[in-house]
Symmetry: C2
Subunit: 164 residues, 2 copies
DNA sequence: TACGATCTGTATGCATGCTGTCAATATTGC
DNA sequence: GCAATATTGACAGCATGCATACAGATCGTA
């Protein structure tokens, strides 16, 4: 195990939650919102462990979306992956700084920053893809195939309800 | 619907994901890690909508843990709810600034900041509790009782595997 | 008892994330 | 054609989160 998020991880080892909390527990440890928070924490740590520090989950999602939707503006990109317009700016900044993404103005609409992936960006994406897929597998590792299918189906159901 | 996270929420409405993405989609929209990320986003937005801006999810969890574990230091508190030692400091700062939490040194171990909840903090906690419970319910609203049980069980299974 | 290992809180730096605001630019209604 | 409106990207501000490093304090042990 790498040192990513070592403190929070070690900390979690010291709590008895998640393995034996009793039915009378009214604290945060019984709340789905807290589960999701901790799962997000786990997923980010796994991503760092498997993919490495050169690409964050957010940057991967953005790079992926840019590759699949060439010529989109920042707002359109944010819409695609559910980010905020204010957040995506900094993400693109960092991807641009690495030379993986290029901004170019649009002649038709001078407000837009048309985004495109560079060859280096393509290479980085291809390099990271296997590890990213491995993360998804490790994440759901303790679930059997039926449970995985059910988990993903319920996640999609929740997202469709709250976002759709 | 309140205006919390309006931009990302409106953005999400414009994407066809989560309702009709085809089986050949290799993008981020098929990845459990991305689902969890979006669910976390939804949960935070629901929390803001139901509880209000005076208490964040993180602050609620911390306040809750302090109320249940009086006399714990910051590191112990962080371990209880899975935060980082470096993060909890700022959270406590803000709770202390609101007058809901008090720091006091320990005579036995002068490194420790013993944490305790104030009467105002107790009141804030009691005020927020119903809304926080409502958030959990709204979050899993689209799932029937069996699905909710299964979802929570699988979350706990995942967390026990990755943290335990 | 001295000393090294460990623990605690803090500070810094980086990366998300969201709110509110703003200027520039398009679009629409009249 | 022009005024009201909407959209876009940028910026400031606040709140997580984590890695790293540091100083003070404690603990285990030789």
């Amino acid at each position: 195990m790498s040192g990513v998020n070592e403190r929070a991880h070690k900390a979690a080892h010291r709590t008895p939650d998640y393995t034996s909390s009793g039915p009378g527990d009214l604290s945060v440890h019984r709340m789905p919102g807290h589960f999701i928070r901790r799962l997000q924490q786990v997923a980010v740590r796994l991503f760092g462990d498997c993919v490495g520090p050169e690409l964050t989950p957010v940057q991967y999602a953005a790079l992926c979306a840019i590759a699949q939707t060439p010529g989109a503006g920042q707002a359109a990109l944010a819409a695609l992956i559910g980010y905020d317009r204010a957040t995506i700016g900094g993400v693109i900044d960092r991807l641009e700084q690495k030379g993986w993404v290029a901004r170019s103005g649009s002649p038709e609409d001078r407000r837009l920053n048309l985004l495109s992936i560079t060859p280096d960006g393509q290479a980085a994406l291809a390099r990271a893809a296997p590890a990213v897929l491995a993360v998804q597998d490790k994440l759901l590792e303790p679930l059997d195939p039926q449970e995985r299918e059910a988990f993903e189906r319920m996640c999609l159901k929740l997202l469709a309800h709250h976002l759709g």
